[in-house]
Symmetry: C2
Subunit: 346 residues, 2 copies
DNA sequence: GTGAAAGCGCTAACAG
DNA sequence: CTGTTAGCGCTTTCAC
């Protein structure tokens, strides 16, 4: 393209310059068996001299690309940063390179990113809470190894890593109830993400919320508020709820980013400073003393590590599906306070 | 690998099944000139039937891969989320796919990620504040189009997009001085990131801080504190500084993530609530009312968009280097307060 | 231990 | 308008 564009050296260039065959060079760079020390030395010198690096895509036409692809929705949600951190750490000592295809949270749904990655010859796919049909994933997994993070689908063709959302919500709700709360609202995503039986974390969290409310005799206080996924959306939804006259004593947001949006909305309204707020995930921002958000910790780093391990196992030949469940942990902080006087329920 | 592994359909499969040549299929999928309507129809039906998708890497061996690679350090820093958002938006209507190679902020330095991307045949490279030698980048840019975001290097082979750090720091320092602050400390990264003349944003911010201090006659109050890049590091560095007895009236942190760590440290110490804090970038968290961090806004989304546009222009044939400077904007918030009584300086 | 040759899936140049 | 041919850079039998 550019006038003085420089072509990179090919295996052929190296072979010629070293006076050997391409096959020989190939063996050297792969550390394969059957090369004399003298030849190896000579070839390596030329590689150095020519600054030669094998083209992965060409290599991929014959075998592996040593590339793992990860589809990632909404990079703004810091829980995904935890996952990514765990994944890159797990990959540090491995010869694999991770590449990420970001998904526009508003528009596309994951199909596009997953397919784009597959078209680019990645050896394995990591799908993070993708909004895709499980059957589609199942089909896809017959062509390429897949590990999915963050859904409870039962699957035979791919592995899954997921948090125990029912247990997590259970702990959190118990905490709120013990603090004396009865009017507990739940802020969650739209139907699309929470359809019963869809296997998404948010559908389970919603169901667990409702179940707990019923169990403790608060069925009539069940209040579900919907919003669109981001901090700002949660902020607006909270203001809307407040404007409609609702006055819960506690709001359980389906994940921390939403909870933080709830907090910012409550801060704006002088009459609502008593409302307790809780989130889910325990992202970094939740831990900040000025935020102090009660949350349910999901071990994101560990989950990211598991995902990578499982994928690596698949690449090494495993064929039966593994489903890993990560254990959540309640982290109470200042954003949840006891209701005046009250203690416990039924 | 898996027993019942399914191979994906190739162009050959489609050609055979449709009773045409591979070249014909190729033309159809590229929308190239010279195919009869009837053939196009037949081929498209088979493509649908076989669920055929061209393998990008094979295609790349001949021409373009329609893939843009972005090296991204530290996904936890939300400023990069702003950039990414701008980039993906700009790419929405383009036929290019963006892939990201995450860089472990602790270990690698960007070389690895950039090379990994180039080895994988991306058509263009976006480097975000990479810690690499400008000469190396220059060399690399002779093989593949590059746009670098976040450094002030003068370059001939690649484009750059960067904020006007000197102007931004100027505004911020003026703001602090006008509030009556004289003991203003600067928290920044280690020497490696701030070496004078290295062209990194942090080296310019540091220099601009020192310059302003001198200009307003506060040279003797210059205090530079170093830390390691993350919120927690900033937190610890602040506690260390406090323990050493230093009592600035204001702390200017080199970016918002650091500033937020400073805030959390100050919150822990009862005697420091009067200290003003300011950051840089204006990330989402800075805007939260419970944080209320004074910051200098960098138009990250716009910068991300510019980066993509410039790269696309290069792919379209432009060969002269473009250097774009984004204009920063001061956003005062509650984290900076006037010093008792004082007003203005010299 | 070494190299020649075939082929991965695709595109581009040309011939029909 | 259509098909044949020749690679792109690499790996992998398989002879030597």
């Amino acid at each position: 393209m550019t006038p003085e564009a420089v072509k990179r050296a090919t295996i052929e260039d190296v072979a010629r310059r070293a006076g050997v065959s391409r096959a020989a060079v190939s063996k050297v760079i792969r550390g394969a068996y059957g090369v004399s020390a003298s030849m190896r030395e000579r070839v390596e010198a030329v590689i150095e001299e020519l600054d030669y690096r094998p083209l992965i895509s060409a290599r991929g036409m014959r075998g592996a690309t040593f590339t793992l692809g990860m589809e990632l929705p909404d990079i703004a949600n810091q829980f995904f940063a935890r996952i990514l951190s765990g994944a890159t750490t797990a990959l540090e000592t491995e010869p694999y390179q991770l590449v990420i295809a970001p998904v526009d949270p508003d528009h596309s749904e994951g199909y596009r990113a997953l397919e784009a990655l597959a078209d680019r010859q990645v050896d394995g796919l990591i799908a993070v809470s993708p909004r895709v049909d499980p059957r589609w994933l199942e089909e896809m997994s017959r062509r390429i190894p897949i590990v999915m993070l963050g859904r409870h689908d039962s699957s035979v063709g791919y592995d899954t890593v997921v948090g125990d959302d029912v247990a997590g919500v259970g702990m959190l709700m118990q905490h709120l109830v013990e603090l004396g709360h009865r009017e507990i609202a739940h802020l969650t995503l739209d139907d699309h993400h929470t359809r019963p039986g869809s296997g998404t974390p948010h559908s389970l969290r919603l169901a667990a919320y409702e179940a707990t409310m019923r169990e403790v005799g608060l069925a009539s206080s069940i209040q579900v508020v919907r919003c669109d996924g981001g901090e700002d959306d949660a902020h607006r939804a909270t203001l809307r709820m407040l404007a409609s006259g609702a006055r819960p004593t506690a709001i359980f947001a389906a994940h921390d980013e939403l909870a933080i949006g709830v907090l910012s909305a409550l801060t704006q309204r002088p009459d609502t400073s008593e409302i307790s707020v809780a989130g889910y995930d325990n992202i970094k921002q939740a831990r900040h003393p000025l935020i102090g958000l009660t949350s349910v910790d999901q071990p994101g780093e560990q989950m990211g590590g598991s995902v990578v391990s499982l994928l690596l196992e698949r690449l090494a030949g495993r064929t039966d599906a593994v489903h890993e469940v990560a254990v959540p942990r309640l982290v109470p902080r200042s954003s949840t306070r006891p209701i005046s006087g009250a203690r416990g329920v039924t």
